[in-house]
Assembly symmetry: C2
DNA sequence: CGGGCTTGGTTCAAGTTTTAAACAAACTTA
DNA sequence: TAAGTTTGTTTAAAACTTGAACCAAGCCCG
């Protein structure tokens, strides 16, 4: 089959996207590194944990939310643990699992860092978007994400008789 | 001043964006790595060079387009040069500058790799977007990029008496 | 029950990137 | 020409990422 090249509009959108995403990630990383001493990914871990019931999450669940491999997460959590922002705990129900838990110090760091981070996200992103655009962005991105998520198990999803094992956390976290 | 936290809509959009951008970049990197033996950034260098007049570009100009530091670019180009896909040349007009030039082999690799790459961009991104959404995405991203670009020199731009030195390339490349 | 498969998580080693600071050479400009 | 800029590279140290290999625990089923 002959290649379906990008149309000029798509080409422009793609270029714009690449530029924006790189610049955005750079800006956010720089800010977080300066004021929080950590890269964006680390911050995200703290943020997700802070929202979880009991401030703890299974490694696998956390990795899934962050869209990173478990191996990568192990590295990150080890580093955060070294700094005392996170602690590992064993799961009582499933002895294979380990839970990452946000420590008090982690909470403190997060609370100290969050305002600056949010301000950056605001000034670089949302301050330049109309409310409609915010909606558009969400819709576009959820579509993309859904497409890329399912891909893995979408093909044979029907064969699988179960939905999802219950996590160790007391209640299911959204998103 | 008290922090302007994200609204629920913004929160959702931001989360969706982070997920989508990570998944997208992963998918593209994986494809390019498998079928082209190089990461996305390397491919981008080849792509930009291929569009440039005479298939060559000043390092600084290239770095600017890619939104990366010159240092980073030096690394990338060195690697590409080692593989014979790119060659460095001296600029006749400005002896400080060096030009990165796409070799014939680079062209060949690009032509061999491009279809698969484009197909991936299509299937992961554009196939899931309506034409309106493509336009929306472009608009959103150019806005973000412009905001983050200008930031550097925007503050004191009026003080600067010059606009931009002419590049060594014979004609100005778009974007 | 007891293999055999799956899942959760870590370890390990090897590479790859990235960063930042320091330089030298080439321009510019006053 | 001297001071200041811009270009591009070098360098060394960190930081990160990957993938394969592993182990332990849980699950499934005859």
């Amino acid at each position: 089959m002959t290649t379906r090249w990008l149309t000029p509009e798509e080409q422009r959108a793609w270029r714009a996207y690449m530029a924006a995403s790189r610049l955005l990630e750079d800006a956010i990383d720089r800010q977080l590194q300066q004021e929080g001493g950590m890269p964006h990914l680390f911050y995200s871990v703290l943020a997700y944990l802070s929202e979880a019931p009991d401030r703890r999450l299974r490694m696998t669940d956390l990795a899934e939310r962050l869209k990173i491999t478990r191996s990568r997460l192990t590295y990150v959590v080890t580093r955060l643990e070294r700094d005392g922002l996170v602690r590992r705990e064993n799961c009582r129900w499933d002895k294979r699992s380990s839970l990452a838990m946000l420590t008090d110090e982690g909470v403190a760091v997060l609370e100290r860092t969050a305002p600056g981070h949010v301000e950056t996200v605001r000034s670089t992103l949302f301050d330049r978007l109309t409310p409609e655009q915010v909606g558009q962005l969400e819709e576009i991105c959820t579509g993309i994400a859904r497409g890329l998520q399912g891909e893995d198990d979408a093909s044979g999803a029907e064969d699988v008789p179960w939905r999802r094992r219950s996590s160790c956390s007391s209640s299911p976290a959204s998103s």
